[in-house]
């Protein structure tokens, strides 16, 4: 509700010396005068919104998440982690004494999501917006966030066009890790675990993420194995449920290794259909992102010995912090699932905002201006679910990526990884301002 609509009924109410008569006795002219005066003062109060009001009331935090379609499980995980964070913060007395109130809106197509973003900032008057998963959407959100002057911290979306950054010096927008990092990590780890690879086939979704991952993986692998040949590339649409023809083509290619960047239900499906024809009896497999649907990768059809990526958080990390252990325990108890990586992105965003507010508030604990919060976020390092994570000076997330070799030796009915490889974005993400392929070409391997 806007302050204008809150203020107007108050102005119409008869009270005080000038309004000592019943409202029903007012003339039409008086009524209109009051209405105009009321609207004017309400608009004025909106323009110079005093921080004093903000200090007292609940802290509205906007959340953009996907709750429908193929990315809904990812969106649900991010929202659950944000809710967990909010409960935790509120139990501890809120942020500078203000209880957190989440205002959740749907992320769908770029146009509608931009409208909802505007609604969050202008109508709901949130102090910060968290969330954004699809880069197709967040590319459009970036410039809007800059215009509206409210901090926006993206869970998983970037402002990359392909593999290149479109907003190198943002003021209000804070972006996720570069999209291609998990493919780069997999490219670094492939020669370590799979010796003698000469031919590689690739399959990914037919949109920017699938193509960019494949290009980046090839560029990295070429650095380690210069004579490697890429014999097949397949890009089925997102949402396909039958890969039997694709698997037949992969078999026909006789590649030594299959690289797959599927991240949703299609990862489970291709694993199942590949197992049915024994694909991984003769071929190595690299699944850069399938850890996002890790508990659907059942042991019956997911073999040991594949390289599997969990993005930035591995729920079963033996070196997990007490925070991660508590989160996994409570998440499992509440949803009967084990949490995927999006929880870590979402928790990091929310917690880093809290820490930045407290840092910017200083010893006086005065609620800071939004610009002061942004300043405090730059370079900030905090304890997230997966361990230490930080914001680079150019507003890009810095963290660790978890990948490893699938194993059946665990207490679950799905695969986990052992050994676990932890690769930092300092090693696997292009530095601020650099071009991806030039950067990879300059590696000393």
């Amino acid at each position: 509700m806007t302050r204008l609509s809150q203020a107007t009924p108050e102005l119409l109410r008869p009270h005080g010396p000038r309004c000592n008569q019943s409202r029903y006795n007012k003339t039409r002219r008086q009524f209109l005068k009051l209405l105009v005066a009321g609207a004017g003062s309400a608009a004025a109060s909106r323009l110079d919104a005093p921080p004093a009001f903000a200090q007292g009331g609940p802290l509205k935090v906007g959340v953009l998440t996907i709750r429908a379609g193929v990315a809904a499980p990812v969106g649900a995980a991010g929202l659950r982690a944000t809710e967990w964070w909010a409960e935790r913060v509120n139990k501890a007395g809120g942020i500078l004494g203000r209880p957190v109130q989440l205002v959740v809106e749907e992320e769908s197509n770029p146009k509608d999501t931009v409208e909802r973003y505007r609604k969050l900032v202008l109508q709901d008057q949130v102090e910060v917006v968290l969330g954004g998963i699809s880069t197709g959407v967040t590319l459009a959100l970036g410039p809007v966030a800059e215009d509206l002057g409210t901090p926006w911290l993206s869970w998983d979306g970037t402002t990359q066009k392909g593999v290149e950054e479109t907003m190198p010096h943002p003021k209000w927008a804070f972006k996720s890790v570069d999209n291609e990092v998990e493919a780069i990590v997999a490219g670094i780890l492939t020669p370590k675990y799979f010796k003698g690879i000469k031919t590689v086939a690739g399959i990914g979704n037919d949109y920017s993420y699938g193509h960019d991952c494949w290009e980046s993986y090839q560029a990295v692998l070429k650095r380690y194995i210069p004579d490697v040949k890429f014999v097949l590339e397949l890009f089925p649409k997102l949402g396909v449920t039958d890969f039997t023809s694709h698997i037949a083509a992969i078999q026909q290619s006789k590649a030594d290794l299959l690289m797959c960047s599927f991240w949703s239900g299609d990862a489970t499906i291709i694993m199942k259909q590949a197992a049915a024809v024994g694909l991984f009896k003769t071929m190595k497999g690299v699944f850069t992102t399938a850890g996002g649907v890790h508990d659907s990768l059942k042991k019956e059809f997911t073999p040991e010995g594949l390289l599997l990526g969990y993005n930035t958080m591995y729920f079963d990390d033996p070196k997990a912090s007490p925070l991660l252990k508590q989160f996994v325990r409570e998440y499992k108890a509440k949803y009967n699932e084990y949490p995927p990586y999006e929880c870590d992105h979402a928790f990091f965003n929310a917690e880093s905002y809290k820490v930045a507010v407290e840092k910017a508030a200083g010893p006086a604990k005065k609620w800071p201006e939004k610009a002061q919060v942004v300043k405090a976020l730059e370079g900030l390092e905090i304890e997230s679910l997966s361990g230490k994570r930080s914001w680079r000076e150019d507003h890009v997330q810095m963290c660790n990526f978890y990948q490893g070799i699938t194993t059946h030796k665990n207490a679950y009915d799905f695969v986990t990884i052992s050994p676990i490889e932890v690769v930092s974005t300092k090693r696997a993400m292009k530095p601020a301002g650099s071009k991806l392929f030039e950067w990879i070409a300059g590696w000393k391997v």
Partner: protein, 264 residues
């Protein structure tokens, strides 16, 4: 027969898939032998086809005499509502029947390995196709269906109760869709959008085969399936292009489809 362009057929397929996953889950947790999982799967798939009566009597009958645009909008609304209903009931995460796909093992045919379950589904499809063929050509009900498809007013004038025939035919069609979804689910995973994916392909199949033709649907499905497989093996970029080139060619050269003329 009902002269309705039913976009909701994909939703029935998705519903059958989800009900199949749940039925198999209950069956396995109740200690049923894995080798017989196909029985509860098929029964659940058939049973949920009863939703067809509700859709036909509750919604579709109101648009039979309306413009085709209304019918399209109505069935598209059903698609969206079913997608949300599935999401509310089963959640957003993909659901699958774990490892039952390989419960019957694998066989090697002409040097290629194939799961036995795939052969069972192919055999089941053939049996269902033959059964429908028999129903349409050899039974009194089949003759009534064909007569109604050919000339509804004449059939009605001869005493055919349209209300019952439409309800039965639509429910039968729905049950075939839900059974298809249930039978396919061990090979894949159920996702709430899987229906929409199927609708697009199904329309390519019926346009090639001919609207309203059983034989056409069978041949259209084979054409689309085999061409997709060949395209993916030979030139993957052409996968969708090739199918729609054929759709366009059929629409231009033979607008009623390969078998549409005789049966439509």
């Amino acid at each position: 027969m009902q002269k309705i362009f039913n976009l909701a057929c994909g939703s029935f397929y998705a519903l059958g898939a989800y009900v199949g996953v749940s039925a198999v889950g209950w069956y396995v947790s109740a200690g049923g032998p894995p080798a017989l999982f196909i029985v509860p799967l098929a029964l659940a798939g058939l049973a949920v086809g009863a939703v067809g009566v509700l859709v036909e009597r509750g919604l579709l009958r109101f648009v039979y005499d309306r413009d085709e645009t209304f019918q399209l909008l109505m069935t598209f609304a059903i698609v969206l509502m079913m997608e949300d209903a599935i999401r509310l009931t089963w959640g957003t995460a993909p659901r699958s029947t774990a490892g039952l796909y390989l419960a019957y093992g694998r066989v090697e045919i002409l040097g290629a390995v194939a799961p036995v379950y795939n052969l069972i589904v192919m055999a089941a499809s053939l049996v269902i196709a033959l059964a429908i063929g028999w129903l349409l050509t050899r039974t009194a009900f089949g003759r009534i269906i064909r007569a109604t498809a050919d000339n509804r007013e004449m059939a009605e004038a001869l005493g055919v109760d349209m209300r019952r025939v439409y309800a039965r035919v639509f429910t039968l069609g729905t049950a075939l869709g839900t059974l298809g979804g249930a039978l396919v689910i061990p090979t894949t995973a159920a996702m709430s959008e899987m229906g929409i994916e199927l609708i697009v392909e199904a329309f390519a199949v019926v346009v090639i085969g001919g609207l309203g033709s059983m034989r056409g649907a069978l041949v259209g499905a084979l054409v689309v399936g085999v061409l997709r497989a060949i395209a993916i093996s030979v030139y993957p970029e052409l996968e969708m292009l090739l199918i729609y080139l054929i759709v366009i060619a059929v629409l231009v050269a033979r607008p009623r489809g390969l078998f549409g003329g005789a049966a439509a």
